[in-house]
């Protein structure tokens, strides 16, 4: 870390390699678009590089990085919101086709719609906790809220999903 702070690019590369998977996965979950997820991930690391001297080591480097990633991704999504809502791209279709899918397209669209329809603060916590396995402690640090707030938001996110899906939930599970 000290070497990276001193401008050592190789040391920063090590930090990049150790953290990039989780950052990219989170960005992709949030935006659902390969190009934007790449842009957000790259911006996250570039901002981290520019602000390394501000990292005091109170929290883990990964936690600090996650807070930048969430901020970059949410700001980016707000700016290009229409991209998030557009139909899946040709590239994505090619990419996901070989995967085993359990749902019919209609059912998948309804599920996506329910998650997309969550208010941003609930959706972010839901994606981080339930889909990407972040702990409430990590989420709280990344979002700058109390752990209890993170738990409350997750509870509400799940309740809203149940409400949105209603009886259709039985079709899925």
């Amino acid at each position: 870390m000290e070497q990276a702070k001193g401008g050592d690019e190789i040391a920063f590369r090590t930090l990049y390699e150790a953290n990039v998977d989780r950052i990219y996965r989170l960005a992709y979950r949030m935006v659902g678009d390969e190009d934007l997820a790449r842009d957000f991930t790259q911006d996250t690391f570039l901002r981290a590089w520019e602000r390394l001297d501000q990292f005091r080591g109170d929290a883990a480097f990964s936690t600090w990085l996650h807070s930048i990633a969430v901020s970059v991704s949410l700001n980016g999504i707000r700016k290009v919101d229409r991209h998030r809502k557009r139909e899946r791209s040709l590239e994505d279709a090619v990419h996901v086709a070989p995967r085993q899918r359990r749902l019919e397209p209609d059912a998948r669209d309804r599920l996506r719609g329910a998650v997309d329809g969550l208010p941003e603060i609930y959706r972010t916590v839901f994606l981080m906790h339930d889909l990407e396995g972040f702990s409430h402690g990590e989420i709280a640090e990344a979002l700058g809220v109390a752990e209890g707030t993170s738990k409350a938001r997750l509870f509400r996110a799940r309740a809203k999903l149940r409400d949105a899906l209603g009886d259709a939930m039985q079709e899925y599970v």
């Binding site: 690019e9 920063f12 590369r13 990049y16 390699e17 990039v20 998977d21 990219y24 996965r25 992709y28 979950r29 949030m30 935006v31 659902g32 390969e34 190009d35 934007l36 997820a37 790449r38 842009d39 991930t41 790259q42 911006d43 690391f45 570039l46 590089w49 980016g76 700016k79 290009v80 991209h83 557009r86 139909e87 791209s89 040709l90 590239e91 990419h95 996901v96 995967r99 899918r101 359990r102 749902l103 998948r108 599920l111 996506r112 998650v115 994606l127 339930d130 889909l131 799940r158 999903l161 149940r162 899906l165 939930m169 899925y172 599970v173």
Partner: protein, 218 residues
């Protein structure tokens, strides 16, 4: 019961809701590294490209003509001012001014990157900006001029320009399918998008442009 259902739903969503593809580690690092090594480089983000689209298109047409003119003048000067003395090494004075080449190549790669990002994003909806065709044609002309001027100088740059030439030809082809049936247009578009991805032209542009351009120092 309700909790169990929620757990199952969550499990399902992990597979169905934006399942992340493999992380493109190397490609992203190349882009990051290019920007670390040139903090002053402008970041050609999708959003910025879209916001500046109109200005870019107008400027690109003007710049295209200007850069082409600069290159042509460069060649012309090299040829017409070349001494005819047999004592001089053949071709030594005919090389275009490296400064001119560097300027033209850097600007060219930046504008080509902007076009490719726009095409890649717009291409997904199947609706390309109407100005893309003429913009791509202009860039294609400059790519060929640069190819002529980088003969054997720099194999990496030459390979990149050759790949860009192919991709730009495909994009011009997409624009030419306007008015044709949708299937043909989609097929052309898919080929162009594949060309962009498979040749990794965007990451290669970012790796060499602008400060890291192999033309620098020639």
């Amino acid at each position: 019961m309700e909790d169990q259902r929620m757990d199952e739903l969550t499990h399902l969503l992990r597979e169905e809701y934006n399942p992340p593809p493999p992380t493109p580690r190397a490609e992203m690092w190349e882009a990051i590294q290019a920007r670390l090594n040139d903090p002053g480089a402008s970041v050609v983000s999708l959003d910025a490209v879209r916001a500046r689209r109109t200005v870019w298109v107008r400027r690109s047409m003007a710049w295209g003509a200007a850069a082409a003119a600069v290159l042509v003048v460069g060649f012309g000067l090299g040829r017409f001012t070349a001494p005819t003395s047999v004592a001089e090494a053949p071709g030594a004075s005919q090389a275009p001014d490296p400064q001119v080449l560097r300027l033209a190549a850097t600007d060219h790669l930046e504008r080509t990157e902007a076009l490719l990002r726009m095409v890649r994003a717009d291409g997904r909806t199947g609706q390309l900006d109407p100005a893309v065709g003429s913009w791509a044609e202009s860039l294609l002309t400059q790519t060929r001029l640069l190819l002529d001027s980088t003969e054997n100088d720099d194999p990496a740059m030459r390979a990149l320009l050759e790949d860009l030439e192919l991709v730009l030809v495909q994009i011009v082809g997409v624009a030419d399918t306007r008015g044709a049936d949708g299937a043909q247009a989609r097929e052309e578009l898919t080929l162009a998008l594949k060309g962009i991805e498979e040749n990794h032209v965007l990451s290669r542009i970012q790796a060499v442009s602008p400060a890291g351009s192999p033309l620098a120092g020639t």
